[in-house]
Amino acid sequence: MGVLALALALLRGEPALVLAGLPLLAWSLLAVARRTARGEERSYPAPSLHLNRRRIDEDGAARATVTAGPGLLTTANVPRPPHADLAPRHGSLTGDGGAALRIGARRWGRIEVGPVHVLVADPLGAFRAQVDLPPVSLQVVPSSVVLDAPVDVPTPIGVSGAHLSRRRGDGTALSEVRAFRPGDRLHRINWRVTSRTGQLHTNATFTEQDTEVLVVTDTTADVSPAPWAGEVAPTSLDMTIRATTAVARHYLGVGDRVALLDIGRLIGAVPPGSGPRQLRVLTDALSRAARDPGALRPLPRLPAVRTGTLTVVCSPLLRPEVITRIGELVAQGADVIVVDTLPPSVGDTSVLRGRPLRLDGRVSERFWPEAWALRRLERERTVRELREAGVPVTAWEGPASLAPVLLSLSAARGAPRRRRS
């Protein structure tokens, strides 16, 4: 445009016309001069994508930084991943030499950040180059609440650990003071009782044992909460994973060995282990899982479990095969607890008024709420049958969900039993 003004000024012999095109000519000349001076005639520096953290907690945030080079307008466009928030909201930011976007995770699992479309331009916007950067993975670790439950297990089966057993042996909890026998340890002699009675007495203690906890996770179904439950209400899979993490963290914290078995094959099996390392292995396996609904596949066979193994099954109890697997565990002698992870809003009959529900201003013609209400009623029968078979079923309602069940299981183990003839 500036050159056109110069040409017209030349043709018409009108020097003032040069002034009309001079600003645009200066704009172009400065852009060309700057590009030449910086050696950017052929290409701009290749931009790169960097995440400040590869693993974050649920409801945590990471920063994705696109860097191109100083003195360049760098625009990063990140498509919004599912179950994540971006800041700026639409995932597009222009910065000087780079752009940093905040990614907030609302759900556990693997988040693909990208592909990121990057546009690099000179400060005047005269020359531009674009490139698509490949996506990078961000692992979101499920938030594991601290379970408000007793550390007791019904049947400790290990040889050492934190749980008080009913057997006498090496430990710290006093069982009784009794007469010294050959073989007793000298440092356990109770000198006060010995001096009073004139006979050697020793302190007898209960042994302390650990146990093996098997957490069975049912990832075969992901049932969304009802529309009236709100956008942040967790799905059945969210509740399952949160319950799994909380139970695993709870028992790993007291020194037990915890194994994970995924009967949905979304996560895979995690062999038994203990300590903080096992917690990392478990949370890593959970956070690497992609939310792939997939097709219905046959459930894997359960491994053989030792009698008395505490088994916590986290499931929305929708597939008959899962109920069968619970029955198999009970038959093997495991102490089974079922954590029901079907969202409470699914099949909620309190919203039904005998006429079609109006959701988002529309009347649904598919009667989903009514269908789920019937399904929940049908499921109630399954839950009742499980309870009648001696399997406690408790709904996942947060950290305090398991406490009454574990206490009642321990009490049931310690209670006197009628002898069966």
């Binding site: 110069l6 001079l22 639409h90």
Partner: protein
């Protein structure tokens, strides 16, 4: 035809407007205002009162170019508006330094605004550092324009021979080659 089928696209388009970021509204608004002001300056004055057809033509070209730039700030159609304005200035008999200079500055403001708007998508946000970088670069353009403008005003009073036309033509061609857009 149901009323909802007519209203839904309109409502959808209005809702889509909410996704446009404030910085894009500001840049495209500035670009439009500056271009319209440049066209108004170029078309104003008693000398052009009789050129009804030309005024309408320049106005239509400017409106078309601006509409295209609102939809896509990077479109080549955007160059139509400055071209029409410069041609309108060229046909004026009463062109003076102030009018040409102010029109040129307004064209620069419009062009720079749309160029910045084209760097980001319609929903994109602009960082403060990026804004400062762009403003620094534009300051350099203004300084260069000022220096060049003073030189033009001073040199306009110098009488040169007919050979100067040849030198000027060569200079124009060289400038054209220098700033001509080229692929990488």
């Amino acid at each position: 035809m149901r009323l909802t089928s007519l209203l839904d696209p309109i409502a959808g388009a209005l809702l889509a407007l909410r996704g446009i970021s404030p910085v894009q509204w500001a840049l495209r608004g500035t670009g439009t205002a500056a271009t319209v002001a440049a066209a108004a300056l170029a078309l104003s004055g008693p000398g052009l009162a009789a050129m009804h057809l030309g005024v309408v033509l320049v106005g239509l070209v400017c409106l078309t170019a601006l509409a295209a730039q609102w939809l896509d700030p990077d479109t080549d159609l955007g160059m139509l508006a400055p071209t029409a304005v410069v041609i309108a200035l060229a046909v004026r008999a009463d062109l003076d330094v102030v009018l040409a200079g102010s029109t040129g500055l307004l064209l620069l403001a419009g062009h720079a605004s749309f160029a910045l708007a084209a760097v980001m998508p319609a929903h994109g946000a602009l960082d403060r550092d990026a804004l400062r970088l762009a403003l620094r670069a534009l300051t350099g353009v203004l300084v260069l324009t000022l220096v060049g403008g003073v030189l033009v005003v001073l040199l306009a009073q110098v009488q040169l021979g007919p050979w100067a036309v040849v030198v000027a033509a060569v200079a124009v061609v060289v400038l054209w080659i220098a700033v001509m857009p080229r692929g990488r």
